[in-house]
Amino acid sequence: MTIEADIRREASDLTTQHPVITLKSSEFRRTREQSWKELERLVDAAERRGVRMLSPQELNRLPQLYRSALSSLSVARAIALDRHLLLYLENLAMRAYLAIYSPKTSLLEAGEHFIHAFPAAVRKARWHLLIVFIAFMVGTAVGFWLTIDDESWFSTLVPGGLTGDRGVASTRQSLLDHEIFAPWPGWAVSLGIVANFLFSHNTLVGILAFCLGLAAGVPTILLIAYQGLILGAFIGLHYNRDLTVDFLGWVSIHGVTEITAILLCGAAGLVVAEKILFPDRYSRVDSLAMHGRLAAEIAVGAIMMFFVAAILEGGFRELVASTPGRFAVAAATGVGWLAYVLLPQPGETR
């Protein structure tokens, strides 16, 4: 309607003495303006109420109008000198692009996606995992040999916060009573352990190992090896008191999960380090963005494992007060994690 009115006015102008100026960009704008406004209306609605609330006809129109807005933008860039028009079209195209290409994923779908993505990510990082595993085992062996020969190494290797009242002066009986078969501390303390899992020593170490991947990975390996040293020193201390098996049971009930989680964090850190050091044909930032998600998926899974470990430690460790029972739980968790990572997911082709 307005177009026709304009043309009529133009025609009447021809009779007056003023010359009529016709701009290509103005003509272009006049012919396309209606479809831009229609797209703007749809995008407004989509931003306010979500794309899902549009009617089927509107949903049909949206991508068509989006494509035509993109082509308008390309034309305008070539012929128009009207800055406001360019900015408007750019803004409109961007908003329509986001309305069309943004994910509409529910939390449930995201969780499901993650449950499938985690084992796949772990499998992709198997070589990184092997490296941190070797570093950890070497650390454990060294810590063990050092401590059984000279127990002063125990206090050197193990940070003060972790020793508790254990140390060179501990006797076999005190270790049995206060550590391995200590009575259950009650609900409040158990719950406290679970609630503070994110701030427990091992979770912090895991997260630190992951983040140190940004520093090219060597600190990650050193940190993991150091954790091995600590574990080795503990084993050595108990070995000298003939408590090796009981101690391993005490540690493994949650340790299988927890140490695996630490190693996974370390492996994720190494993935980050590798992509920064060897970006292939991409820029380092792009390379990191491409593979950072893989590392993040592993790290997220590891954090969930720390949570499970905290439940095992807070709830089960003292309740299952027999060494064979503890080994049984530990074996069950180990087999469970392995099966989860190694067995193909439903619907997955391998």
Binding site: H18, R52, I79, T105, F114, L198, V285, R293
Partner: protein
């Protein structure tokens, strides 16, 4: 100093940093990066919402469940529910199709994929869990009573390191954005204003009069003509008009009342001229470019 430079200093400047993404259709689009202040406001709003919800949950638990467990249990439940709430909250809203939490919507910002692809679930999960490491973990260490001087020092250094990272990279990415390959942008709503082109020109300009200026001057004039009509604008318009008259050698009488009309006609003629030149493969970026092409 020419007229356009004086005018340009008064006009609104584009102070936002711009980046380009390429849509799957292959069209490059400019995006504007969000400011740190906007992101901070969004984060604070979101955290307040999460905190309120977590307190409600912990209180409800305390009333419904066992009596006599007291403070430790309350704090434990509060801790856990805050942790899970904020993770689920951020991931839920950033995946909901708007790419923004309520706080981000208030601040008018949102998350996009840096390379122009769709924002994937794993990217959103990655960027939000990294926030745990960047912000909440060190704050948690600082708040927890058990840690000594060393731990606090480490936590503060940690916080500062990640904060600095955000300031030193070009795209204002925090570590989570870096790992997930995302950007945080502002997305204002731009409305289509009228075309400034006059259909019937009262003032007619010859080609040699239009050769003095280029695209930049034209767009400054456009901004000027789109300003709200107040005293300052009228003064600016008169000033610019005088300079144009001098530059192009306009000799006919020009009453002050006709200033705006004259400028609009000049804008129309100038744009028509420059668009034609551009179509013939002779674009003029600014007046210096125009001067070099006049020979």
């Amino acid at each position: 100093m020419s007229a356009t430079d004086t005018a340009g200093s008064v006009l609104r400047r584009d102070w936002r940093k711009r980046r380009e993404i390429v849509t799957p259709e292959g069209v490059p689009l400019a995006v504007e990066l969000a400011e740190f202040s906007e992101r901070a406001v969004a984060l604070i709003i979101d955290l307040l919402i999460c905190f309120a919800a977590a307190i409600a949950i912990a209180l409800a638990f305390l009333f419904l469940a066992v009596k006599g467990l007291g403070g430790i249990v309350f704090v434990a439940i509060l801790n856990l529910s805050i942790f899970f709430l904020r993770i689920l909250y951020f991931i839920h809203f950033e995946l909901s199709g708007r790419g923004a939490t309520p706080g981000k919507r208030v601040a008018g910002i949102r998350v996009i994929d840096r390379r122009g692809g769709p924002l994937t679930a794993s990217a959103v999960i990655a960027r939000n869990l990294t926030r745990e490491l960047e912000v909440f973990l060190p704050i948690g260490i600082l708040l927890s009573a058990g840690s000594g001087g060393w731990g606090n020092l480490l936590a503060i250094g940690w916080l500062i390191a990640f904060l600095v990272l955000m300031f030193v990279n070009r795209d204002r990415m925090r570590a989570g954005d870096l790992i997930a390959g995302t950007l945080v942008i502002v997305l204002p709503r731009q409305r289509l204003l009228g075309d400034l082109v006059e259909q019937r020109a009262r003032f007619v300009f010859a080609d040699h009069q239009l050769e003095a200026y280029g695209k930049r001057e034209l767009q400054v004039l456009e901004d000027l003509l789109r300003r709200p009509n107040d005293v300052e604008t009228r003064e600016l318009l008169r000033d610019v008009c005088d300079r144009i008259v001098r530059k192009i050698g306009w000799t006919e009488p020009l009453p002050p009342a006709d200033t705006a009309l004259f400028l609009r006609d000049f804008y129309t003629a100038q744009r028509a001229f420059l668009e034609r030149e551009q179509l013939f493969g002779r674009p003029r970026a600014d007046k210096f470019d125009a001067a070099s092409k006049r020979e």
